[in-house]
């Protein structure tokens, strides 16, 4: 995204500027409202919510909902809280992101610097794979995971996310390496450097920004995934999103809204944190994933 320096030349009067700031502030409140609702209600006793005090600050502050959501709330059949599922998500996300990013970098390198007949078709095939409705692969994937002996396990989920993550990671690195001066690669080749040598010594050292974009994108997508998690996990391998949904939808007993909100924030925290720390890269990834190139 361009910097403020290039903001447009349209001039607005003082009166209309006041209105503009008012509208922009109003929308800040609109976007922050659900986060506010989740945060304040996760810190108050259930009775305050039931009494119609959802918008109010807690009159009695408590972290009990957080403790319950983390370690004692009923998820499915067990009263384990969300902790084991949070760990599942981490165990799933880290390898899936790492492997898909490395493969994406190698693919992007081949597709831009070692071009061959039909490489655009290969890229097109990879690219379209990013956008298919995954409903189209659920049935065969369930059988395939069974055949591979990793159905209902965290490694099974890693595999699924890896398979459907390659397209996007390749897209990022290909578009990035396309801007990288091919003369440098050519010169290194004339000096006798091989395929991997060039990748390690020339491409990788300048790949930092796109690697960050790719890692953030994959992390966000895989952490937030629900469809694959719901389809291919067992009770003990569920990722965080599926466990959160089970917590919220469970029909037994009193609905503990405060615990639900605490759980929702827990599920949101890792990606929110990434967004706050590295928002620029997050936005670049979003844009590159839509306005390609």
């Amino acid at each position: 995204m361009a910097s403020n320096a290039s903001a447009n030349v349209v001039r607005t009067g003082a009166g209309s500027r006041y209105v503009i700031y008012a509208i922009l502030t109003l929308f800040c409140l609109y976007y922050l409202l659900p986060l506010y609702v989740m945060a304040v209600n996760s810190l108050k006793p259930l009775s305050e919510i039931q009494a119609g005090g959802m918008m109010a600050l807690p009159s009695q502050w408590t972290i009990a909902p957080w403790q319950s959501a983390w370690s004692t709330a009923q998820i499915g059949v067990d009263a384990t809280g969300l902790r084991p599922y949070f760990l599942n998500s981490i165990l799933m996300v880290v390898p899936a992101v790492a492997i898909s990013t490395v493969l994406g970098a190698l693919n992007g390198y081949v597709l831009t610097k070692w071009r061959f007949r039909g490489d655009t078709i290969v890229f097109g095939l990879l690219l379209f794979g990013c956008f298919i409705p995954f409903q189209m692969v659920l049935i065969p994937m369930a059988r395939m995971l069974g055949l591979m002996g990793i159905a209902g396990t965290v490694p099974g989920l890693i595999f699924v996310h890896l398979v459907y993550g390659i397209g996007f990671s390749t897209l990022y690195f290909r578009n990035y390496y396309q801007q990288f001066p091919t003369e440098l690669v050519r010169a290194a080749m004339i000096d006798g450097a091989g395929f991997f040598m060039i990748f390690r010594r020339i491409m990788l050292p300048s790949s930092g920004p796109i690697a960050v974009v790719c890692i953030i994108w994959q992390f966000t997508n895989i952490w937030n995934d629900f469809l694959f998690g719901a389809s291919f996990s067992d009770f003990d391998s569920q990722p965080m999103t599926v466990a959160l949904n089970n917590l919220v939808q469970s029909s037994t007993g009193v609905k503990e809204y405060n615990v639900h909100f605490a759980g929702a924030i827990m599920a949101a925290l890792p990606t929110l944190l990434v967004y706050i720390v590295a928002g620029r890269y997050f936005v670049r990834g979003l844009m590159a994933g839509s306005v390609k190139g």
């Binding site: 976007y31 692969v137 928002g279 839509s290």
Partner: protein
Amino acid sequence: MSMTVRSRSGNDWLRDALPRIVLSPSLVIVLVFVYGFILFTFYLSFTDSRILPSYGLVGWQNYSRLFSVRAWGIAVDNLLIFGSLYIVISCVLGLALAILLDQKIRAEGFIRTIYLYPMALSFIVTGTAWKWFLDPGIGLQAVVRSWGWESFTFEWIKDSDMAIYTIVIAAVWQTSGFVMAMFLAGLRGIDNEVLKAAQIDGASNWALYRRIVIPQLRPAFMSAFVVLAHMAIKSYDLIIALTGGGPGTATELPATFMYSYTFTRNQMGIGAASATIMLMSIAAIMVPYIWSELREKR
């Protein structure tokens, strides 16, 4: 730009083939797990599969049954309502916010950060937040009543006719900031000289935007449409978290229909047929888009 580096023709076969060898695992994975699986599901849509895949061909029977099932009709209608409102509202809101944010606003970066953070959240989180916020018993309705407006009523989420609009509310909340960012990037790419010239000619701000700026945003509109349409067709998590498809089947979409027919109602053939229709609709949007993007690059 097509700068091609061809490996010199040496007698070292491995050296020549190495790049393609490196690429091949990914290519094989995509061919098998994307295209092979698509073909498999497509094939299943013509079979008598129920709980498990079965290979007895039944012709177009699954498709004719699919289109005669009331639930599918509801799902498609819902997708049309949800999809069109979602796309139009997100675009209008996104464009309006982008234009307002493009007026040399102080703290622009901060405001942008707030508008965009919902994109980082899972739809399950968004769904949970809005589910309870829209719940008449404890959410908005209860709050407004507790403030003294006793007759205030907002029960869309419990109302079969209105529940689909709550999906629109939550989905717009999640993605409109992203659409704003796309339009803002488009606005920043517009040549200021043209605007200055029009200003000297005495054009009002409104005319400036309507005649010059907005027409130039066509690529941003195109991207926003493709992204939003594709997200609408794939919408699944949000429905599950927000309404579970209910009340009754009032907010079922094709994605939730496919899942329940395949995995809970044991009508895998029909489920596969519905997935095929979903793929076709997405392909109709994505293939021309990808095609044009790749052609431009050559």
